[in-house]
Symmetry: C2
Subunit: 405 residues, 2 copies
Amino acid sequence: MNVPPRLLMGPGPITVDPRVLQAMSNQLVGQFDPWMTDAMTEVMGLYRQVFKTANEQTFLVDGTSRAGIEAALVSLLEPGDRVLVPVFGRFGHLLVEIAQRCGAQVHTIEVPWGEVFTPEAIADAVAAVEPRLVAVVQGDTSTTMCQPLEEVGAIARAHGALVYCDATASLGGNPFETDAWGIDVVTAGLQKCLGGPSGSAPITLGPAAVEVVEARKHVEAGLRPIPGEADGDTDSGTVIASNYLDLAQIIDYWGPRRLNHHTEATSMLYAARECARLLVEEGIDQAVARHRRHGEAMLAGVRGLGLEVFGDVAHKMSNVVAVHIPEAVNGDRVRAGLLDDFGIEIGTSFGPLHGKVWRIGTMGYNARTDAVLTTLAALEQVLRAEGAEVTAGGGVGAAKEVYAS
Amino acid sequence: MNVPPRLLMGPGPITVDPRVLQAMSNQLVGQFDPWMTDAMTEVMGLYRQVFKTANEQTFLVDGTSRAGIEAALVSLLEPGDRVLVPVFGRFGHLLVEIAQRCGAQVHTIEVPWGEVFTPEAIADAVAAVEPRLVAVVQGDTSTTMCQPLEEVGAIARAHGALVYCDATASLGGNPFETDAWGIDVVTAGLQKCLGGPSGSAPITLGPAAVEVVEARKHVEAGLRPIPGEADGDTDSGTVIASNYLDLAQIIDYWGPRRLNHHTEATSMLYAARECARLLVEEGIDQAVARHRRHGEAMLAGVRGLGLEVFGDVAHKMSNVVAVHIPEAVNGDRVRAGLLDDFGIEIGTSFGPLHGKVWRIGTMGYNARTDAVLTTLAALEQVLRAEGAEVTAGGGVGAAKEVYAS
């Protein structure tokens, strides 16, 4: 394989920490090898620290972050359940779509892309809808907005609702407090601030959510002593519509019962373990501070180049910034110039923002000074070559001022 | 990480080919980098060779082999559809369970574990049930049986049914002819005869299956120019119950439209690519012959030790053998002795065979002479130490006779 060298400064996936690649290059052990089950237990403990939770049920779903989202929603929601989704970007729409496919009755509130909700707006909607579940994204990379969630747990609990949060793009780079904020279920992915590759979805479930899920547990027919016939297992409640993403079964696989489900994706588990280990070693709060620092440098840098930032900057995620593509240039040509001449990738966006903004990330392994300065230096060159007016040295200079402060 | 060295001689996952681990250690490129999209296209071509098909729609599902199974069934089946599942082991029961969760009307025929179906039995059931889909496992590792499938395509087509086959445990190690046998959809995994880790599910769909799937395509709301509102896309048919495993959306992601869906698990794609590349380099038929040779050696070897083989040996998969655990010994202690003293893993089984047989694999990277002989030598020592009557040198000797022939 001859993979071209890239500096991935888009909204993710980003360049993987080389230590994670090293971890993935380890040989396999068997699925129920004591070393493997110990490693699974260790992963549960590491992700409790990452999610800032005491939740026993903290493990990995074997798929990309989207698999984690669907596992949460399909296991929590029964057909007809009312769900409230505050939508502020593409990934809010994804929650709506997945919840609808679960047969839920989905209610939404929306703000224009580039804004977030006030706690009052969410509280009003919860009171009006009386949902069983509030499903909300923390950081929606499509708009770069970071929804404040400190109060959402209390708001939901006051109305008997659970809260699910998709923290894929934000976890590890922005403050997140599963227990302190009262969030019942959180899912993530490795390919953003955790510095790993896509393909494993860490998840945590609090006791109330576990109760909902376990009440729907059905043991796989082929695992029973007499296949297809009932045994000691309860097997009550509405069957979860997915087998692969059935959290009740996955809990039995990760738990002391070790009941066979899928064959754990061991190499991805090695990756997920190393991502969490590095984050815990650095300190979660320190990692969040690092993302804030490099995010501020990139923000100052793009402004220093004369670019205009998209959206409500006060509520921007620390790990990604969206900038308006200047009228004078062709956005795709600039991205191609960065990639072809400098090996640097930045992103475009989706839906209403497609072709209108670039998204530049500073996350995971690439929340680093050299990555930020190199990107700004290259962007200046490409913008100039494409005919945009740019302040010479303005990007790197402004970022360096942030670093010096 | 300090992973213990293991020789994985169970029913899978097995020891990964070191070249696959090397491929996985490559750094990422961006999701829509021209190098990445070229690599995806290359993977499609490689798996066409592995599946022996001309099917355009041949790609990867991002999850374990079970994710591939569910993607096939949830995308093909609508609630109320009649499905016929010939069940001859645990993984037949899994097809039943997943199809039921899709809301299908599932009909089964069964043979005792250790047997397979005659084509006539399948033909009679298809005629009686008139299903929309016949869903069948090729190699069910729970029993080690390999279901003959040469005629199933013609049988189904005569009744207007499609055929789905789960070839996870058999592909690459037993003959499989997607097009020649008229199988509409096939899924697999890397962790058996393909010599890779679990976590990526190759899939191929023929034109008739693609038609069914595409008739249910709905573009994700957040990707539309005006989110949530219809645009040029057809968006007709019954919505597929899963978003993550929606093959219509995944086809649009792998195809020329490159419409964003999940974030491809790039490291697993590197692994899947290398698995297929190695297999194509060796030659699919040569790989099948290699599995047959080492499978025969292991079969002769366990018999040479005095062990009794489970099931209909004439229909055994080439890559795994099940042996009755002798009365005199404790099966779990033997497995623990092999693991602790020799670093060798063999498996037990599920359901009615749990604790009654061991399963010994010879597949992928471990379909090798040294792996077979080492396992037989160690098994002899452990059996003797546990009080079983074994023929001294009988296992290795019988295997060597096979190799010499």
